[in-house]
Amino acid sequence: MIKFLFAGVLLLAAGSVVAQETQSFTDDLGRQVAVPVAPQRIAALHDIELTVPLLELGAPVIASHARPGADGAQTIRSSLLLTGQDLAPGQIADLGNNPIDIEALAALEPDLIITTVWQKAPVEQLELIAPTIVIDTQSGVRDDYALYDLLAGITGTGDRLATLKARYQAQIEQLRRVADVNRTVSTFHAQNGKLSVWNPYGAFGKILLDAGFSFPPVIADMAAGTSEQLSAEVLPELDADVIFVSYRGDEGQTPADAHAELETTLPGYCAQLVACQQGRMVLLPREEGWATSYTGLTMVAYAITTALGSLDFRSFN
């Protein structure tokens, strides 16, 4: 009897191993990895770049890289705001920051580890725990949203991604209907006495570009995916029909802080920007628009649509 029970347990254990059908995947380091077709226990080793997209795709993330939030407690940056999920015992475990805690990861027995070249935890150790895919999110191999295609392919969540894309496209169409896309727009913020400019400026820039707005040459001429710290002397070159300035809402900042930072950078800055003088400078919290997130795109697209629909352009026409 005991022999039969023991054999049964072994058969069940073996069954759970062979049940996971695998597919071959070549990661950004050129490694061929056999990964489960439908992973059930994913460990994501970068919060904004991996965990948030995976949660949006509905993939089963059981552990994540995390970092201290504004209150000092560990958090998956931006996740609560964008996905409604954060670290939670028994649901998503905290793996620490960079490097993550390898022993904690091993104890969780993931069936797939997805990491980035930024994460310092050695790949040789990670792949002893579970199949490990390394994604290059730093050298511009693919744009931020192409990462979703990659992750959907790995996790078998293509249907969900198609839904997210359709929703975003509908929002862009709505923005085009509401606003005159022939107007120029500008996106930046002031920091440390300089003007921080990106091309594009997170979700803000992507939405405005996708809708068909144009940027001043000082932004448009920058290489895609790059950022610059510009002298305050070029502030007027950032003027446009509408200016979007962001502030760190996640760190307790308010629009007043964004104004104060601009004032520190260039006293009397508003007098140098026509958009500011005419009340067409829009201040938005940055966090929603900084993570690579379709939810973030939705939030920011709605905010931009609302703002552009509310601004007074009569002095223009």
Binding site: R67, P68, A70, G72, R77, N97, N98, Q191, N192, G193, K194, V218, E228, Q229, L230, S231, A232, E233, V234, P236, E237, R248, E251, G252, Q253, D257, A260, T264, T265, L266, P267, G268, A271, Q272
Partner: protein
């Protein structure tokens, strides 16, 4: 080191005074260059017009008055303060590698800013100058207190060692904060590298008076530093109360450094390199080393800050990066020259 004669050491006082005036003239030229060039090219006529008759509505005039002029004045003030602070530190410790950071002042300033930013959030960044000054001052007191408790009391050696240990300890704590919270650190990265951008005349207005008083005190104490640099016994033989003098000098150094850090963050190399340039010119007499350091330091920081602003326009490089890039090879060359 202190015995070596400078290139002009045997010249008369009047020649020295003449050279000081020439240096002051060079500062005027560099000052003019600093406000004439920048990320936005401005015709010379516009610069002069802005200086003579400011039009509050003209952006070009705003560039001169609100951006370049405050920054140039801050460069002069910080350059002079750090250079004199370094010269006095080298004299009082008889250590040619001494600089304002030796007493943990730079590390203390950085630690205070990083920790307050971590605890209270990035909103504290606006208070960074004052937090830095407080951090530098408290650290200097801590270094002095620890050195005081060691056998032999606060000698140049115990102060140097205590300063090095506390600096290393605070730097380690800053690294831990960096590891634990990269986001907070990102906000401070520019300030920690030493930068003159985004500082107003109001900040200068508050920090300049203590710097001026400390510079005057430094000049007044300079003759006795010459004796102190030859050793405590020599100084005592000349009737100098060495303990009292060292304490006065430390107060001057702390005020100069903490005020400079408040204005520009922990700028490196100025306090280390410039006193050596002055010593190379005028020898080991601190009556000349101190004023020459002040003027050369001011000129050096004006020049390097101009470079930081125009190297890759319209982008700006942190001034601290340029002072290190220029200061390091200059220092190596100085060492080679003195070794010959």
């Amino acid at each position: 080191m202190t015995q070596a004669a400078g290139l002009l050491a045997r010249r008369s006082g009047s020649l020295m005074a003449l050279l000081l005036m020439a240096l002051a003239g060079a500062i005027c030229l560099l000052f003019a260059l600093h406000i004439a060039v920048g990320a936005k090219p401005l015709p010379l006529g516009t610069v002069i017009e802005a200086l003579l008759a400011r039009d509050p509505k003209a952006f070009d005039h705003s560039i001169i008055w609100d951006l370049r002029l405050p920054r140039a004045l801050i460069a002069i003030t910080v350059g002079a303060a750090l250079a004199v602070s370094g010269a006095l530190m080298q004299g009082v410790t008889r250590n040619p590698l001494a600089d304002p950071g030796l007493l943990g002042l730079m590390a203390g300033a950085s630690f205070a800013v990083v920790m307050t930013s971590l605890v209270f959030g990035p909103a504290m960044t606006n208070w960074a100058p004052w937090i830095a000054a407080l951090g530098a001052f408290v650290t200097a007191l801590a270094v002095y207190a620890v050195a005081h408790w060691t056998p032999g009391g606060p000698t140049p050696l115990t102060l140097t060692l205590t300063g090095a240990v506390i600096s290393a300890f605070l730097a380690a704590l800053v690294s831990i904060v960096h590891l634990l919270n990269e986001d907070s650190f990102d906000n401070l990265r520019v300030w920690l590298s030493g930068s003159l951008s985004g500082r107003s005349l109001e900040t200068l207005g508050v920090t300049a008076p203590p710097i001026i008083v400390a510079l005057l005190l430094g000049l007044a104490l300079a003759p006795r530093v010459t004796a102190l640099a030859m050793g405590d016994d020599v100084a005592k033989g000349l009737g100098i109360k060495t303990g009292q003098l060292k304490l006065q000098l430390l107060v001057v150094v702390v005020v100069l450094t903490s005020s400079a850090v408040a204005l520009a963050g922990p700028l490196g190399f100025v306090g280390l390199v410039i006193p050596h340039v002055a010593r190379l010119l005028v020898g080991s007499d601190y009556r000349w080393i101190v004023p020459f350091s002040a003027l050369i330091g001011a000129a050096f920081l004006l020049g390097t800050d101009t470079l930081a602003r125009i190297a890759i326009p319209p982008r700006e490089i942190s001034t601290g990066i340029i002072t290190a890039m220029v200061g390091a090879p200059v220092f190596i060359q100085l060492v080679r020259m003195r070794a010959r």
